[in-house]
């Protein structure tokens, strides 16, 4: 009898502990459920659907009547010179956007990291490009680039030079699109890099100064290693955004002239909405996805390499 009652007394708190433990265990899952649901509905499902569509013959206006065709869309893609041209332009555009955007943004951040009168105003002005929506910015730049009455050509002709066909020649269109891209991207890079620069401990810099290190050496040995992870992350972001950027390119040039600014995403749009070929358009999308994942993988490998070195 006594045993039984003791056993019951022992099991009650145990049960309570167990139920508390269960609630504790379940709670995090409840918290992450909404974002998981969001990602599942708005990212993973469309992504899985896109990958599936790339193996089908699907018309835009009859997506339910699709037909599985295996790798045919990829065969068509790899046999098309337009695809290689679009891939080449995407890579050139993305690399240049990263190099120029990150370099300019970092230089601006370094300049703004030291105190000078009016720094807050300059910072706010420099952020303007990032704050303006892409579509509005593109439409404004369309006017700036206008061959006849655009501001840029007013300046160029004012200097006694011939007006420049910014968007209407193959050799100028991509640089012009890049100019707008960098104008949009650099302020974001600047903002992120500025935050990273401000987190560099002043005492480490001070120590380097005491050791007679000059400014270049302080930057190379102290500042750069400290901000390197941020620099890599921001480069990754700019690269992925550039691979999938559509609005600026489409509004400025529509992929022209003669396909000179036709990136994978512009070709995707053209294939899906002009040719109504959702299957082939999805194959373009999958290639873009692979490209973006490759960049992310390179970033991850860099990170691992850095982590290993710091462990040693």
């Amino acid at each position: 009898m006594t045993d039984i009652s003791t056993g019951a007394a022992r099991s009650l708190p145990q049960r309570a502990r167990k139920s508390r433990f269960s609630a504790k265990a379940v709670l995090p899952y409840i918290f992450i459920l909404p974002p998981v649901m969001y990602l599942a509905v708005f990212m993973f499902w469309p992504l899985a659907r896109q990958i599936y569509l790339s193996f089908t013959k699907t018309r835009l206006i009859n997506p339910s009547r699709s037909q599985f065709i295996g790798l045919d869309n990829y065969d068509r893609l790899l046999a098309s010179p337009d695809f290689y041209s679009a891939l080449h332009i995407t890579v050139v555009y993305s690399v240049m956007a990263v190099v120029l955007g990150v370099a300019l943004g970092t230089i601006a951040a370094l300049a703004l990291n030291r105190p000078f009168p009016g720094r807050t105003i300059v910072r706010a002005v420099l952020l303007f490009g990032w704050a303006v929506p892409n579509v509005a910015a593109s439409l404004v730049w369309l006017w700036i680039f206008n061959e006849r009455s655009g501001v840029l050509n007013r300046i160029v002709t004012g200097l006694g030079l011939d007006s420049v066909p910014w968007l209407t020649t193959t050799h100028m269109a991509l640089p012009s699109v890049l100019l707008v891209t960098v104008w949009q991207v650099a302020p974001f890079v600047m903002l992120v890099m500025l935050a990273a620069l401000q987190s560099v401990p002043e005492e480490v810099r001070e120590a380097a100064r005491i050791d007679n290190a000059d400014k270049l050496n302080i930057f190379r040995a102290v500042t750069l290693p400290h901000v390197m992870p941020t620099l890599q992350l921001v480069s990754l972001l700019v690269a992925v955004w550039s691979i999938r950027r559509f609005d600026i390119i489409y509004l400025l040039t529509g992929g022209g002239p003669i396909g000179s600014t036709s990136t994978l995403i512009v070709k995707l749009r053209q294939t899906a909405f002009e040719n109504h070929d959702l299957g082939l358009a999805s194959a373009y999308g999958v290639i873009g996805l692979i490209l973006a994942l490759s960049v992310a993988t390179i970033h991850a490998l860099f990170n691992r390499h850095r982590a290993k070195r710091s462990m040693q």
Binding site: N146, E147, R148, P165, W166, G256, I258, E274
Partner: protein, 404 residues
């Protein structure tokens, strides 16, 4: 008393939604709803039907013309979209091909429609009713042309000479026309005027796609001659070109009747100062045909059909005429004398409508956009790189052959 008031208020509140539910809502999509003046006028025509059928409420779905094809096809493909869609011929054929449009035989039966209905009959089934047909012509600012002492051109050399004269004597822009690939849809339709003007058909007698022809090369060469002559404001998009014309800054332009009506209405330009003449090409030009069709996804196809029946009735067509300028309609309703007097350019468009051709390639209506992409790239190649037209067209022919 208070109780009675509350009771009646509750009854009214219950009755209101019931009344609204009794009415059938028909959604009509159109890019023209967004046009500054014309949009309001056309919507007023459509809304007049609510007086004829009090059980119907009409609601508009306004989509910018640049996005119209993408949006409407995506909506239809998803099993949604408006009850009635007003669309360009290209979109109409794509939807017809996908079996997304309702047979309108009952609507058009016994109605004396003109030949604008021809292209709405696909495989002997009437899938649309003509909304408007906008024909292309050369329009010019009479005041500027007179001031420059220039003549109205009848060929490309004359156009370049007259436009240069206007430029030199008045400082205005000589000539405007679409010329950029970022406006592919509009430019490819406009370019058909040059192609048709030089006798291009894009298909041979057997219906085979023949892109690389001497006629097409001549059309591209003519376009390049104009492009290189310095009379076009390179880089200006179509809305800017139209605004410039409206602001009296342009001598000559190539535009359709709808665009011209917009230019001549509600701006600095007096309609009496706008004149029109045939395009300066040896052969007749193109037109943009718009149809209105009932979606197969509509929950109210009968009410939508009744609306269309009214639209092509004498009453509906008379109202459409008032809002459509000189555009050809589903039935032969002449422009009023008053309209013709105020708008001297209108008659030229009405005359040109008799011989104009569709911008779609016969037998390849659904694929016209797909075919025109390499063609327009060939035009760009000639304009920008100076490639010989025949060589650029040979590349386009190769691409098209590999596609079909």
């Amino acid at each position: 008393m208070k109780k009675q008031f509350l009771l009646s208020a509750a009854l009214v509140a219950l009755a209101l939604p019931a009344q609204a539910e009794d009415k059938v809502k028909l959604v009509i999509s159109n890019s023209q709803w967004l046009d500054a003046l014309r949009g309001e006028q056309l919507w007023a025509v459509v809304k007049a039907y609510e007086k004829v059928a009090p059980n119907v409420v009409l609601e508009q779905e306004a989509i910018p013309s640049k996005d119209y094809a993408d949006r409407i096809m995506t909506e239809f493909g998803a099993g949604q979209g408006p009850d009635l869609a007003i669309m360009q011929e290209g979109v109409f054929y794509a939807l017809a091909d996908a079996g997304m449009l309702v047979d309108l035989a009952d609507v058009t039966e016994g109605v004396a429609l003109n030949d604008t209905i021809d292209n709405a009959i696909v495989d002997d089934v009437t899938l649309g009713v003509p909304w408007q047909r906008a024909v292309y012509a050369m329009i010019y600012n009479k005041e500027l042309v007179d001031q420059a002492g220039a003549s109205v051109p009848t060929d490309v050399e004359g156009l370049i000479a007259s436009a240069k004269q206007v430029q030199e004597k008045t400082g205005a822009i000589g000539f405007t026309a679409r010329h950029q690939i970022n406006d592919f849809s509009g430019w490819s339709m406009d370019f058909q005027n040059w192609a048709y003007g030089y006798g291009v058909h894009w298909v041979d007698d057997e219906g085979e796609l023949t892109i690389n022809t001497p006629e097409a090369a001549a059309a591209i060469a003519a376009f390049k001659e104009v492009y290189d002559s310095g009379i076009i404001p390179i880089g200006d998009d179509m809305p800017t070109q139209r605004t410039r014309f409206k602001e009296k800054q342009v001598g000559f332009s190539m535009d359709n009747s709808g665009g011209t009506l917009n230019i001549a209405s509600g701006g600095a330009m007096q309609s009496a100062n706008v004149m029109a003449s045939p395009l300066p090409f040896p052969n007749p030009a193109a037109h943009q045909q718009m149809f209105i069709s009932i979606s197969a996804n509509s929950d109210h196809p009968e009410e939508a059909a009744a609306f269309l029946k009214w639209l092509i009735s004498p009453e509906g067509q008379a109202l459409m005429r008032d809002a459509s300028g000189p555009d050809a309609l589903a039935t032969d309703v002449p422009v009023t004398e008053e309209f013709a007097t105020v708008n001297p350019w209108a008659q030229t468009f009405a005359d040109l409508a008799k011989s104009s051709r569709s911008t779609l390639i016969p037998g390849h209506e659904v694929e016209t956009n797909q075919i025109m992409r390499p063609v327009m790239q060939a035009v760009e190649d000639v304009l920008i790189r100076g490639t010989a037209p025949a060589d650029a067209l040979a590349v386009a022919q190769g691409k098209i052959d590999s596609m079909f």
